[in-house]
């Protein structure tokens, strides 16, 4: 393989964002037809490099050679013309337009008179979606779709280009196992066609399953390119973070602990849909100090379940929620927080971060009342409180007054958890807390959850990664289309059993 001419040759590329050196003198080669994984912590510069490769960023140092020719793209069109397309890490869809319109955005097909040929686009879009084993209607409005489906559209959009080089920047972060499996199929087909793929992911198993070679970046610098067969996840993680990781969580015994939260016949109506219920007759209980994982496919209703518990559901749920034996009915998240429940949302950027505020303000927001006297914020107390949280969570930041955007994804997530913890909750709801978070930060988050649980906090966590759930949970509930379809203790849970329950193939095991 090494004898081949590289299809992409990255030479001494550097990129400066104001004071941030995002990339520094990075050089490596990508060979034709290979699947080349790029790994690194949050903020290591992976996306920046890919944006340079795909013509999104045009202002950089160094050289880029594609197919043996030196290239300098002036825009995404230039990159597309030499056969490079990209699936961006962030969703970049126009919610007001249809699926087909999004897939062909910027490359609309025209008919004889130069006007839009919508029928042709709908047909092609349907073909592409079929390749992805998705039965989405090309005419559906993207805004009405779930995040996972939207990610599939992003993938379809890149496939539509039929390019020879495809960059995939964390394509699976919002997908669950079954969609990921479909994506693997697509990747295999592409590779059979000889497409070169640059693949970024924080999911180690995924990388080791798909990649031929792995390049590791750290702090904007190139560390190493290595054949998959010559390495192992442990070594890669070490290269990424520069130290050993330990993500095992010791089992705890919660049998004798009191029940904190009890959910009885919880249902959430879904007006205007062919299925009347988003959640249907969900029952479970949560004990003190327990970490309860919730598994399910995309759209199974995990997010809705947490939203119901937090008083944030768009419609009020039916059924009964008991907190310490008191029936509660939260009209607003503030009531839930006052009662001792806190939630970390799955969409960090849109629903979690306050981009215009600094680290201190982002952390202290929910605990302001305890830092205030008669409604007046006592600056010292706030600062001390935020400082404490930063230390407790070991948030890495240049200071309390740093912009929240200057933090890596994992550290942003820690700030949001810190914000929740300031309300001193008894129940913590974590909706996919490790989405897009690097291995190092993930391990720290696991450690944190363990500490909190050991201190008696009850935690419900969802995740799109089964291995993660299996690692952290004392118990795992499985949701399938809004119905509880399985419950497994830590000991009995396996990936296979959970997948069976999640796809509705197994009978319900417990009530």
């Amino acid at each position: 393989m090494t004898a081949m001419e590289p299809i992409i040759s990255i030479r001494n590329i550097g990129k400066q964002f104001n004071a941030v050196r995002a990339l520094d003198n990075v050089s490596f080669d990508v060979l034709p037809g290979e699947l080349h994984a790029v790994m690194g912590e949050n903020g290591a510069g992976k996306s920046t490099l890919m944006k340079i490769l795909s013509g999104v960023l045009c202002d950089y140092e160094g050289e880029l050679w594609v197919d043996g020719e030196r290239r300098r793209f002036a825009g995404t069109r230039d990159a597309e013309s030499v056969g490079i397309s990209i699936i961006h890490q962030e969703l970049n869809l126009v919610e007001q337009l249809s699926v087909a319109a999004n897939i062909f955005l910027g490359r609309e097909s025209k008919n004889r008179w130069g006007t839009l040929n919508q029928r042709d686009m709908d047909r092609q879009a349907a073909d592409l979606l079929r390749q992805l084993e998705s039965n989405l209607a090309p005419t559906a409005l993207v805004g009405s779709l779930r995040v996972g489906d939207q990610q599939l559209i992003e993938i379809a959009k890149a496939l539509a280009l039929e390019s020879s080089i495809l960059i995939m920047d964390e394509p699976t972060s919002a997908l669950t196992e079954s969609e990921v499996a479909r994506l693997y199929g697509v990747v295999n087909n592409l590779r059979k066609r000889g497409v070169t793929i640059l693949y970024i992911s924080h999911k180690m198993d995924e990388v080791f399953r798909l990649a031929d070679r792995i390049t590791v970046l750290r702090d904007g610098q190139f560390v190493k390119t290595i054949n998959k067969s010559d390495t192992n996840p442990r070594e890669i993680a070490h290269m990424m973070v520069g130290r050993e990781l330990d993500d095992a969580i010791r089992p705890r015994d919660n049998q004798l602990q009191p029940v904190v939260l009890q959910v009885r016949q919880l249902s959430l109506p879904w007006p205007g849909h062919s299925k009347a219920w988003r959640l249907n007759n969900v029952n479970f209980e949560l004990k003190r100090g327990e970490i309860l994982g919730i598994a399910g496919l995309m759209g199974a209703g995990r997010t809705e379940l947490l939203e119901c518990l937090f008083g944030a559901s768009p419609l009020p749920p039916q059924g009964e929620i008991r907190l310490y034996d008191n029936v509660v009915r939260f009209q607003h998240p503030s009531v839930a927080m006052a009662a001792g429940i806190a939630m970390v949302t799955e969409d960090r950027k849109r629903l979690g971060l306050f981009g215009h505020m600094n680290v201190r303000e982002n952390i202290s927001l929910c605990g302001l009342d305890s830092f205030a006297k008669l409604g007046v914020i006592l600056t010292d107390r706030e600062r001390r409180g935020a400082e404490q949280q930063v230390q407790r969570m070991s948030v890495k930041t240049s200071g309390l007054d740093a912009s929240i955007h200057s933090l890596s994804g994992g550290n942003q997530q820690k700030c949001i958890i810190a914000r929740c913890l300031l309300t001193e909750p008894q129940v913590l709801l974590l909706d996919d807390p490790t989405r897009g978070v690097d291995v190092g930060a993930k391990a720290e988050l696991y450690r944190l959850m363990e500490l909190l649980a050991n201190d008696g906090m009850a935690i419900i966590v969802t995740s799109s990664e089964l291995p993660e759930l299996l690692t952290v949970s004392d118990r795992i509930l499985v949701l399938s289309e809004g119905v509880l379809s399985g419950e497994f203790s830590r000991a009995e849970a396996t990936e296979e059993k959970i997948m069976e329950a999640a796809t509705g193939q197994a009978p319900r095991q417990t009530a």
Partner: protein, 406 residues
Amino acid sequence: MTVSRSTVKQPGIIGRILSSVEAKLILAWLFVVVATIALDPGRTYLNNPGSTAELIIRNTVFLGFFALGSAVIIISGGIDLSSGSVIALSATVFSSLLSVIDPEGFRSGDIQTSVVLVAIAGTLFTGVMVGTLNAWLITSVGLPPFIATLATMVGLRSFGRGLILAVTGNRSQIDFTDLHLRDSLKDVTSVSIVFLIFALAIWFLMSRTVIGRHLHAMGGNEAAAKLSGIRTDRLKWLAYVIGAVSASMVGIVYFADQGSAKPDILARGYELNAIAAAVIGGCALTGGVGTIPGTVLGCLFLRTVIDAVNKIVGTGADVYEGMIVGIVVVLAVTFSQRGATTIRRPFFGTAIGWAAVPVLSLLAGLSFVLFFREKPWFTPTYAIGVGAIVAVSLAARGFIEVKRAR
């Protein structure tokens, strides 16, 4: 391994048509017309249907031109506060060009056609330049559209005033003395035909061409549009140029219609009418959403409501017009776009809802006094009664909402 998925219930074709903003607007419009026929003491709609229709069409068409321009800008994610000033400036430029190029003909009221064509071209080109200026302020200088067009709104009107002083030698307006030309430029039929062509062209652009698709995309998600290789800066330029040129056309027509170009007051505040018409017609100020037929219907609806107020209230209609227009805008936007959000929020069953009940009741009672205090049958008891009835019914609705939420 595909998961059977719950889909949104697709309503039938009739249901879809009926739930469109356009259909709702047509229904609302019919309602206003019927109400006017029923309530107008002068029965003008029945006695003078022709001239009433002409009046409404004229006003709709005049508003329509620049409302369409505003709609294009709103759909593409911007906003234009400068259109009223651009109308004033364009009327000034048009009249100035006429009087400067052919001073003789202008004075004697007999302007050559070639001069008229040059002046029209010059005025439309002024529109292009203004659009370029707006787009430059937004894309290159990086001002938010609201601020950029606020600045051109105050700046261009003042520029027009200075221009007219310079052209006339310190007079504040230019009068249109060529009766023949004036009549042909302001003729309702021909202006309506031009409008129809313009509206069809814009509709075609927005709904059938790649550019229109890209304008929608940019309005919905500018970053995504950019990453899809769309040249958003040029699109913005196009949108603001369309907006300014449409206002320039209105400037020419207004000069003819009013017989004078007086930039200090011409079309003052009209930008808000245009925005209101576009929003009533279904354009979302967040961008990406809206149709051209909807905007035209929005203009028709708004102008019909204003006409209805004049017909029904009669004396002092101007005093109450604002109130009624305000209420109608709220109702139109609320109900024509209510289907859009799946979840109906309570109107009164919340803290603010309860607080609004006395405010609305007081408003209703006082409005009753204002409207009817001079009727012979009027006593304050009635007004208190009306306020009380409103209060009770809103509160009842609030209770029902609270109950339903349980």
